[in-house]
């Protein structure tokens, strides 16, 4: 295992597969540590919010989930660009491995947004710019997953999905801007999801939970990509060897 960490070798599924497998437990463990720390700070230590009472504590889920949903989309688009530019197989697999987790983060963001909104503003859903943009992001995720699922040829699926991601990533700022514009015109008082000044413990709790979600996402994506690799590369020697030896 003391091979030089070479980016080109890592691009080969045969090399990346065991590496990813070795990394998963570390990311999972780090995620748990961050999660416990974040929850301790956020749920047990952080004070009551002056305006929102204890209900604000939802931000320890809502904000990390929103950040991750957007970040994962960007990472997917990054892998799409790499895949289209260098014709690497692994990039496409990585993008497909990330998609379900990103979509779940978007769902979590919307769900927690609704649970936050109901006690605060009296409605399960408000068409504020950020929640609406999050909903559209979910649509983009679902579109990507639907497209890649509809294409039988794996390489075409990767490339078509990749192109869709690049088009999407360019459109996300445009969509966000237009939704913001739409929102300010149609609403009297703007509902402010932004918190005024945050207590340090609140901020740290949020950041720690964000790290927890990030590490979790990486762990899950690595798990998923390994399965995708086995499926895609099933005709190669290394996969056949793996399957016949009954190994992991």
């Amino acid at each position: 295992m003391k091979d030089r960490f070479n980016l080109y070798r890592m691009a080969s599924p045969a090399t990346f597969y065991p590496f990813a497998g070795a990394m998963i437990p570390y990311f999972a463990a780090v995620s748990v540590v961050f999660g416990l720390a974040g929850l301790y700070l956020g749920m047990l230590v952080a004070p009551t919010d002056f305006q929102q009472g204890e209900g604000y504590r939802i931000i320890f889920i809502h904000v990390p989930a929103s950040w991750m949903s957007m970040f994962i989309y960007l990472v997917m688009a990054f892998w799409a660009a790499i895949g289209l530019a260098f014709n690497t197989r692994l990039s496409g697999m990585m993008a497909q491995a990330l998609a379900p987790t990103g979509a779940l983060m978007a769902v979590l963001s919307l769900w927690t947004g609704a649970l936050w909104g109901k006690p605060m503003w009296g409605a399960w859903w408000v068409w504020d710019a950020r929640l609406t943009s999050e909903l559209i992001l979910l649509f983009l995720y679902i579109g990507y997953m639907a497209l890649t699922a509809a294409i039988d040829d794996a390489r075409r699926a990767d490339k078509a999905g990749g192109l869709l991601l690049l088009v999407g990533v360019v459109n996300v700022p445009i969509i966000y801007f237009s939704v913001k514009w739409w929102n300010t015109l149609h609403q009297g008082s703007s509902i402010n999801l932004a918190k005024s000044s945050m207590a340090t413990t609140m901020l740290w709790g949020m950041l720690l939970m964000a790290m927890c979600f990030w590490m979790y996402s990486i762990a899950i994506a690595l798990m998923r990509v390994r399965t995708i690799m086995l499926e895609r590369e099933r005709h190669t020697d290394w996969v056949k060897a793996l399957l016949t030896e009954g190994g992991k």
Partner: protein
């Protein structure tokens, strides 16, 4: 250091318990079910690929 006076206060979350725990609830659900599903997919994929490999072997052995 701990903000709460009692465990029941903690659960109640100042009256917002339903919303806060509803949020954490879905989070926990996702973070438990997603890994299980991914692991399960992996197992079934490996089983299917092994079956296909054995079938190929049988065919080429003839």
């Amino acid at each position: 250091m701990i903000h709460w006076n009692s465990f029941s206060d903690f659960l109640a979350m100042g009256g917002y318990g339903f919303y806060v725990w509803g949020s954490f609830g879905l989070t926990v659900l996702i973070m438990v079910i997603e890994p299980i599903v991914v692991a399960h997919t992996r197992k079934t994929t490996i089983a299917r690929l092994k079956r296909q490999l054995r079938a190929e072997h049988r065919n080429t052995a003839e």
